[in-house]
Amino acid sequence: MIWILNLILALLIVIIFAYLVRHYVFTLTALYYRGGQPHFAPSRSYQPNVSILIPAHNEEKVIERLLQRTIELTYPKEKLEIIVVDDASTDKTSDIAESFAKKYNQIKVIHRMRGGGNGKSTVLNEGLKHANGEIIFCFDADYYPQRDIIEKLAAYFIDPKVGAVQGRVTVLNEPNTFVTRLVTLERIGGYRVDQLARDYLRLIPQFGGTVGGFRRDLVVSLDGWNPNMLAEDTDLTFRAYLAGYKIRYVNDAECYEEAVETWQSYRRQRYRWARGHMQAAIKHLWPLIRSKNLSLREKIDGFLLLNVYFMPLLVALAWFLGAVSYLVQTSELAAFYWFLPSVFVFSSVGNFAPFFEVGIGAYLDGREHVCRLIPLLPIAFLFNVAICAKAFFDLCTSKLVGNNSCKWAKTSHNGNGNNFINISSKKEM
C-alpha cells in the first residue's frame, strides 16, 4: 500500500511542480523577454465601428460613473455605440441608463423584463442582437476604463488572426478592506505577469469576460455566449482558439474595477469562477488535445489553464498525503515529499499566482508597498481550497444526478469605488 501512496504523491508533486515552473517562466518572461508578439499602436487609419455592451442588473450605485466615462472616451463618437442591457433591474439602474440615453445618441438601453440576474451570457446575447459594431466590447457596470482604452484595444483587430483582445484590470478600491488588498495582489500577478507572459510566449491569454472585445463575426459564428456555462469567458476563450483565432492581451489598456470587499462576496464570486472553470475544463479538454488549430505550446498552456482551479485541491491533497506518508513510514523519501507540498503552498496561492509572480508584478508596476502584503496570500489560498473543494463536489454531484443547471451568483457592488475616481483621473492626466 505504501508504494501506492508514494506513487500518488510523486504524481501530485510532478503536476504541482509543472505549474511552479510555468509560473517561474512567466515571471522571467514578464521581466526580461523582449521578443514575443508585435504591439499595435492606435492608428486613425484603422478604427472599426465598435459596440460596447454593458450588462446591468441592479447596478444603480456604479453604472452612472461608467456611463459618464463612456461619453468621455476618445474613440470617434460616430464609430462608437454603447448598449446598456438592463437585466430586469428592480432599482434605479434603468432610470439612470435612460437619462443618459436621452442626452447622448450613442447610448442605447435595452430592457429585459424577466429573468433578471440569471446569468451574464443571456444578457450579452440579448445585447449582441442589437449591436451593429464590427467589434463587440464588454464592460461590467462596476468598471471604469481609461479614456483611450477602445483605441488601444481595437488596434489589435487589424491582425485578421486576432479574434479577441483583453485589457488589464486594476483594482480601484484597493485600500478599502483586507479583501480588496488581497484581490489587488491577485490581479497584479494575474494580469501584469501571467496574462502578459502568455501573450508574449504565444500561449493562450484568457478573455476575462470584461475589459475586452471580440470580433462580431466570430461571436455570431460561435452562437454567442453559452448560457449554460458559469465561466462564459473561459468557455468563449477556448471556443475562439478551437475555431482558429488568437486572443491578444494589451497590458497598457487599463480599466479599474470595484473589487469585492467582503469575504462573503469573495466566496460567491470565486465559487462561480471555480465551478465555471471546472465546467469549461470538462467541456474543452478533449477538443483541445485533438484540435489541429492549436500549436503544441498552446495545447500545453491550454491544458494547464483549464485545470488551474483543480490546483488548490491537489496541493491540499498532496499536503494531506505527505502527512500520512510521514506517519506511516519514516524514510527520507517521506520527509522529502513532506517538504515539497509546503513549498507549493506559497506557490499556488491567491488567484493561483505564486508569491514571486505577484511580487515581480508589483515591482514592475512600481507599487512596492503592495509587496509587503504578499505574506498574507496564504489566507486567500486556504479560502480558495475550501471554495474549489465545494465547487468540485457540487459539480460532481450535479453530474451524477444529471442536473446540469447552475445558479448564477451575481456580484453586488456598493459604489465605494466612487471615492477613488478623482484620484484615478488625476493620475491618468
Binding site: 521581466l31 510521514y326 509546503s342 503552498v345 508569491f355 509587496c371 509587503r372
Partner: protein
Amino acid sequence: MSLQLSGCSAPHKEDPQYMHVAIGAIIVIVLVFILQHFLIGATMLSLIAFNMIFLFLTFPLRGPLWCKIVWLMLGNAVGVMFGIIRLSFSFALRNDFQGIDFFLNLIIDFLWIVPIWSLSLSFLGMMKHRKNGVENPK
C-alpha cells in the same frame, strides 16, 4: 491600411544584471558551504530555497548590489535563527509532539522566507525610485 508597430506601448522590461547574479552566486555558495557545517535537514533545505529564490529573482533586478547582499545576509541570519528556535522546540517536544513539530516546521520556514523576500523587493523598488528621482527630478 498599414500595420503600425509601436515600441512605446510595450511594457517596461528589465535588463538582467548578470554581474550581480555572478557575485550573488559566489556569496550563496560560500554561505551554503559554511552553514552546512552547522545546520542539517529541513533548515538547510529552507535556506537553500531562500538563497535560490533570492539569487534568481532578486539579484538580476536593477538596484544597488550592496542592498541585495545586505538583504541576502539578513535573510540567511533570520533563517539560521528560525532553524535554532525550531531545533530547540524539536528537542524539547520530540517525545510528545514529534508529528506536530514536523507538521509545523516547514510551514514556519516559508513564513520567514516569503516576508523577507517581499520586503527586500519592496526596498529594492524604493531604491530604484529614489535613484530615478535623483536622475530625473522632474
